[in-house]
Point group: C6
Chain length 185, copies 6
């Protein structure tokens, strides 16, 4: 990851209107919390085998997350091109980005924008379960400081977190379907 | 492998109900024992050649283990998509994870959950034999400390182990079929 | 990137006439601003699957940018060979080159040259949005010093920039279509 | 190769009965002699192109050795899946393992077990010749110490070796066919 | 690049007669100028898809240069095998070799030898333009010292060069077609 | 390359009879001259596309040398499997091995053994020319010391060599055809 002097400043000033296919993730780069933008572009594959391509994210992990969407949640993505991009030329290996990746993909496929006041921090497992991630309080604090209104985390990450310390709402979920219900439902 | 402050804490709090396709392995990271979750997703391949993909685990080793299941144990996996994932974004090279990988795959294919009180620590050979692994006592002790009720190991790892020191039950096996009989039978 | 004693000197002396398929980008190499030339060659694919090849630039990112042009802007590039080259044997990882890459591709496809007095410095997202980049003032100052007449940047990069300090015109845009309108329209 | 505290101990306790597809090689890891187990799994290819996969061993070298078996010794392996595995998660680059690889492959294909009292230490050339390897005495001494009854080496490695120093029998061979005659004949 | 004690000595003594498919490039290895031989072999592709292979040179860059020859200069190379080799086992990343690569390819395709008294030092862009390279005077001086009679460079590299200092003729060109006219015309 | 205590000793004791497909090369490993054995296995491709595989040698260079044999010397190898191996598990990057590679390939294809008293040290170019290599006297001296009777080198390597110092015969050649005439003719 290349050094970015004030990444949140750059991140948070990029949109006047809500665009579909974008979800923000509360990530860690080393010990430093950072809010980053995950972008997806899903559309019909015009020719032959669908394209699956990710910049800044592991393509094998993208394929795994698409398999979860297909086989656990019933989405039909197999005839569609899927592009994934992490804004800012950043390369992410923190599994806490998983949930934002899934949300961005469905947002693009359904053409439904996500409020830019929401952010996400959770790993997703092969059963479609929403998993806890490390240093969740640092992630929440950073999102709170930057003015986000809600953060979606795993309910297994709730222990010891004092909601009253934050202005933003902490939404605790345990399955992908729950998140989709809250976001798109 | 990225540093995780209290990995067992995170690991052991992720499930309210039992999910199929999950098996826990008693692994070593350097000298440190660590319990990690292996996840498999097996389902009919909808289109053309089946997908075989692993995140956090060597894909060639996954193919080898699938060949053992097919050719030694008679499972039919060749027309099915198989995804394998190590929870927590961890990358594993310790062959002691082999048995948990096989168990997770069959658990998903048969849609039979494994009790989350069981864990596994054994290498698997091309003949379907369950092989001893190094530092087995450290692995057993860690699983015991974390409250697991049973650990499956190779019978060739039994020498010098004092079962009476542990609360958890040590199940010694020598062939895949034995494990399957004990777990799914 | 190999060291180049006076890169701007070499860059700025290469053309007597305007050629299509070329766009200049205001890039950073470490802390040093540098103007570099992005070249594209787009033409009908004579045989079978079209070629997509980039030297000095990530091929996956090229494919992502082509997907944006196709799916967001309605260009038909899927039956055309696309070659991309960064002049000088330079390898670029700065996302600020994105906009120049897109402009070079369309310039070649439409066979419309870009004035060599224009330069570009902006990331492009999967929604076709023009994104802010870091150290924009250094980039603008270098382009100004070298005698460029206009630089295209993201409107989200405008904050705190004093246009009156520069001779070159700062053109702030937020979508690809805007840039195309200004350049080719 | 990962460190293994007492590798021979682990190696030599893994089998109650003889299994086909296994051959033991007297290898060097740096200056340290080590007996390791080579495993092969050969079976009819159920679907399309046969699989050729090796874990812990170079796949190109596996293909080369299969070509020798086919073109020099007349075996028909081209319609069969061939998996090769080095037990213990070890990665081997010592060419002295070649002979054990070939023996394991034929043992699996013919379903004929090799006595676990035999071991092997020789390179194999493209003409099917059995070639000398370096530090042969260290290899023989280690196999002797661990109780093996026979070691197969190249006859060009015999010079200066005093058979009377060892309990194990040294079998010197110069062509693959000779070894096969002695082992399977 | 491996060290070569007296590379020019070896280079300049290799030919009694002129062979087609060879062009000499004035290259830099670090700060050291060096004359090297670029070799091409172009012939009809006997079977299926034509082979494109380069040793010592980036295959993607070879494909890019072939696209320039096809799409800018009208050569038909798409049904021909093209092999490129840098003599001496050297690996080149200096873009100044581009022009010699193109000349070697056309020399082989047309079976017209290039005088071994000519050498080349210029980058080639996607528009077919001949581009300036760094440290051109060092390159010219080395070629002069070794007895070459002509060096082809970009006309944008002429500034500040005093032709009268050298015995060799400096031929300044700006487009591939010009070079071809001078060499093969 | 792994250290080999007395490589020549091992090399020179491997054969009682002459085998086809083997040629010995006088190589340098750093400053140390070393005689190594190059092995080829050429045979009809039984199934589909011919296999081209090299262990210890660059596969792209193998393909280049095969193209020279086909297109410059008229050999028909395109429907044949070609395997190349460097004995001893050695990996070679010295271009002086080229000539031995070609000789081994033709020896295997024609099933004509090369006298083990011959060795080779020359690069081969795309025109089929035999090229000089560095430190030729060290190579010759080592071959002489080990009792070889002839060494084939490039005639452009003859300068300054005093044949009378050596017992072995120095055969200087300039084209592949010459060597083939002397060896197989």
């Amino acid at each position: 990851m290349r050094e970015v002097s004030n990444p949140s400043e750059i991140l948070l000033s990029q949109r006047d209107e809500e665009l579909s296919g974008i979800a923000i993730s509360a990530m860690l780069e080393g010990a430093r919390p950072m809010l980053i933008e995950t972008q997806a572009l899903v559309s019909s594959a015009a020719y032959g085998t669908p394209q699956r391509s990710a910049t800044g994210f592991d393509t094998k992990r993208l394929n795994m997350l698409l398999a979860v969407l297909e086989k656990r949640c019933g989405f039909r993505l197999s005839t569609q091109d899927v592009f994934l991009n992490i804004a800012g030329g950043i390369r992410v290996e923190d599994p806490a980005i998983d949930l934002a990746v899934l949300i961005a993909i469905i947002s693009s496929q359904q053409d439904l924008p996500i409020s830019s006041k929401n952010c996400f921090a959770a790993e997703v497992g092969l059963s479609g379960e929403i998993r806890a991630v490390n240093r969740i309080e640092q992630r929440i604090a950073e999102a709170d400081k930057l003015g986000f209104e809600a953060i979606y985390i795993s309910k297994y990450n709730l222990k010891g977190i004092d909601q009253s310390k934050y202005n933003l709402e902490i939404k605790a979920v345990s399955k992908i379907e729950e998140v989709f219900g809250l976001i798109f439902g």
